[in-house]
């Protein structure tokens, strides 16, 4: 550890706000990227499940007739 | 139903009268001395070959064009003096698309209704869209509809907006055969309820009632 105290570490000799802001935003943006990919995947899965359900429903109804 | 009733009240003395109307384009006379009358419960078809001035006439009668001489009377008084009352009774469907391509049929008709002071009547709009065969397309952007479907969105206004006079410029354009028959039936219904219709078309109308044909162009000069 280069810094002596946690306070030093956070303030970074006055440059803390700049540094932490950068890393904060970066973490945010990168996790948003992953999050968007995840949520889009969930959406796609849901749609595919719906398609399969619709297909099953229609095929079973036609076999009944 | 309230629409028809409301229209009915005014219909009693509906009457569009055209007196000695004259109009020209680039020194070519389109029509001169044109006289005819359209009463409640009547249909008048404006006929004539291409370029004979049908569209020009309809735009004059709708109050969109002032390139004419002569008189247009509505309920016995000049159109110009009672524009507001006249517009309340008029429904004009022109050549143009009449719809915003990026909006859906539903949104388009909502706006059209709002322009006529009708708000919150989605039910009526939806039933109108169903009537013109667009159920299922209510929320799709209009630019992704076929030519005939777009025309149908415009025609759906006939059923959401109360009026006692319909002025229609080639309403059958791009409409399929079954659609044409249906529209003819609607016109017929409207007329028998006391509405007045003025339309141009190159189709041979098969219309239940009797109707007048006013012919422009060469045929008229003969």
């Amino acid at each position: 550890m280069y810094f002596d105290t946690v306070g030093d570490f956070l303030s970074m000799g006055g440059h803390g706000p700049y540094v932490w802001f950068c890393y904060g935003v970066s973490a945010l943006v990168l996790s948003i990227l992953v999050g968007v990919a995840r949520s889009r995947r969930k959406q796609a899965e849901q749609q595919i499940r719906a398609i399969v359900r619709r297909k099953k429903a229609s095929s079973s109804s036609t076999t009944q007739h | 139903m309230s629409v028809r009733r409301q229209a009915g009240v005014v219909l009693a003395n509906t009457g569009l009268e055209v007196k000695r109307l004259y109009s020209d384009r680039d020194d070519r006379v389109l029509f001169a001395d044109l006289c005819f009358q359209l009463d409640a419960g009547q249909l008048v078809q404006i006929a004539g070959p291409n370029g004979s001035g049908k569209t020009s006439l309809l735009r004059i009668l709708a109050g969109l064009s002032s390139r004419y001489e002569g008189e247009v009377l509505w309920q016995g008084k000049s159109l110009l003096k009672q524009r507001h009352e006249y517009l309340q009774q008029l429904l004009y469907i022109g050549h143009g698309a009449g719809i915003k391509a990026v909006l859906s049929p539903l949104e388009n008709l909502r706006w059209s209704c709002a322009l006529r002071g009708l708000n919150n009547n989605d039910d009526k709009i939806l039933s109108a869209l169903e009537k013109v065969g667009l159920s299922g397309f209510e929320e799709q952007a209009c630019h992704s509809l076929s030519a005939g479907q777009q025309r149908r969105v415009n025609l759906a206004r006939l059923f959401c907006i109360p009026a006692s006079l319909w002025v229609l410029d080639e309403p059958f354009t791009a409409i399929d055969q079954r659609g044409v028959t249906e529209i003819e039936r609607w016109l017929s219904e409207f007329v028998s309820e006391g509405g007045a219709v003025l339309l141009t078309t190159h189709h041979r109308l098969s219309f239940a009632h009797e109707f007048k044909i006013v012919t422009l162009g060469e045929a008229a000069n003969v």
Binding site: G13, H15, V19, C22, Y23, I48, R49 | -
Partner: protein, 249 residues
Amino acid sequence: MSISSTFHKWGSPRWFYQFSGKLLPWLAGLSLLLLVGGVIWGLAFVPADYKQGNSFRIIYIHVPASAVAMGAYMTMAIAGAIHLIWRMKLAAMVMKAIAPIGASLTFLALLTGAVWGKPTWGTWWVWDARITSVLILFFLYLGIIALHQAFENRDAAAKACAVLAIVGAVNIPIIYWSVEWWYSLHQPASISFTGQSTIHPTMLRPLMATLSGMYLFFTWVLLLFVRVEILDRERNTRWVQDQICGESR
């Protein structure tokens, strides 16, 4: 009628989907390890720069973001060319997926750079050659994203974006070099960006970690996006439906 698609031998989305599935956990683990580890190392353990003090620690995110943002554009253009020439669908999906990732990284490069500029140069923004070309790169990305969104037809969108990406790629060297030339022509008064601050090796090692971490992260997210795209496009096929509904069972 079933939707029949003729797949390229080695561009088969199905093969790619299954292959990338195996790669995912490794990529995710390694990239996060390198990124998080490198950042902690850089933030907490590396000594401060003698000139800039602690603000130099921004470098561990700034440089990886900038470098990968640049590389991503070229990857995108190459994917576009492959799509146009060999009509490979997979390439179109890669291209579409890269655009938002690249734009995000470019945005990070701009933002971290601007924030770094405030303590070092005393201003958020200067019209330095490299900075200007990154800004232009950002616009190029935005252009591709906007163009893709504007099309309703997926195939047309992919082709159009491919054309634009290639035209852009031809232009990037020209842009970069003309901006450089323009900047040196003006000999700006105060600030020099490409200063010869020879980085100390102790500072360099965590940088290497975050840099490689960022490349891996990019690949990981890219695969995630492409896989979603594959599912979306092929949702009417048997194998996708089996894949998804099979998993849940």
